[in-house]
Subunit: 117 residues, 2 copies
DNA sequence: AGATCATATGTCCATATGGGAATGTGTCAA
DNA sequence: TTGACACATTCCCATATGGACATATGATCT
């Protein structure tokens, strides 16, 4: 199998940076496709396709007004992401960080420098 | 361009369900590759490859003990995801949900309304 | 009716993928 | 040393992708 479809779930949908940018743009409130195009300076077909992906996982919803389509964020769809990440909250606290440092130290008896890639 | 590499950032890395499962498995503490294989019932090469992706975005770290490799979560790498999702928190609250309901309502000429044209 | 605006959809392609299978590497035991 | 174990790496392939471009749909206005 290849990589899972971007429309599989919210995690796949927000993997793409442009789609996160679109969501951030919509964070302030409803916006038409053209406004998103102007703000993000992306080709209109691209924006429409990204919006299609976001819509398919219910991250955005839209209503039609005249010949424009106003999109808005459905933040509730992001709650699972928030909660999932939050379940690791204990892992970015001081206690465990010190343990991690210790383990890292034990692993590398020498250097203090150098990030791989 | 094709889809961004899974190693591009944390968002891409956690898009894959198996990798999220691995992180959850490691949530309880250090574990060797073989333990992950047993718990998730995945082929060992797959687990190793997933771990490679997770390592490349610093979501996991490992130390070598004998001929085993003990992996652990670096939860701090998930904080950006948490914070980003959290920035939409206002969008999954009652106030805005009611607004959303209203907009959805307006969108669907559902009620006792005559057809105009 | 056209013409024009706003958006969606379709086609093409280079690219990265995850899964499967086989093989390589490094460590320990006998 | 040889062999068994634990893990990483490599190869192959079907598949979905995002970008660029062209085109279709649909609503509004003259």
């Amino acid at each position: 199998m290849a990589r899972a479809a971007t429309t599989t779930d919210v995690f796949n949908a927000i993997a793409e940076g442009s789609r996160r940018n679109i969501l951030e743009t919509l964070s302030g409130g409803e916006a038409a496709v053209g406004e998103i195009v102007d703000r993000l300076r992306l080709p209109q077909p691209q924006v429409s396709k990204h919006l299609g992906v976001l819509r398919s996982v219910d991250l955005v919803r839209c209503r039609t007004v005249g010949r424009r389509r106003l999109y808005r964020v459905n933040g509730a769809a992001l709650k699972p992401v928030h909660d999932w990440a939050r379940s690791f909250e204990g892992h970015w606290n001081a206690q465990l960080d010190r343990l991690d440092d210790l383990l890292t130290e034990l692993q590398q008896p020498d250097s203090h420098e150098g990030e791989a890639q």
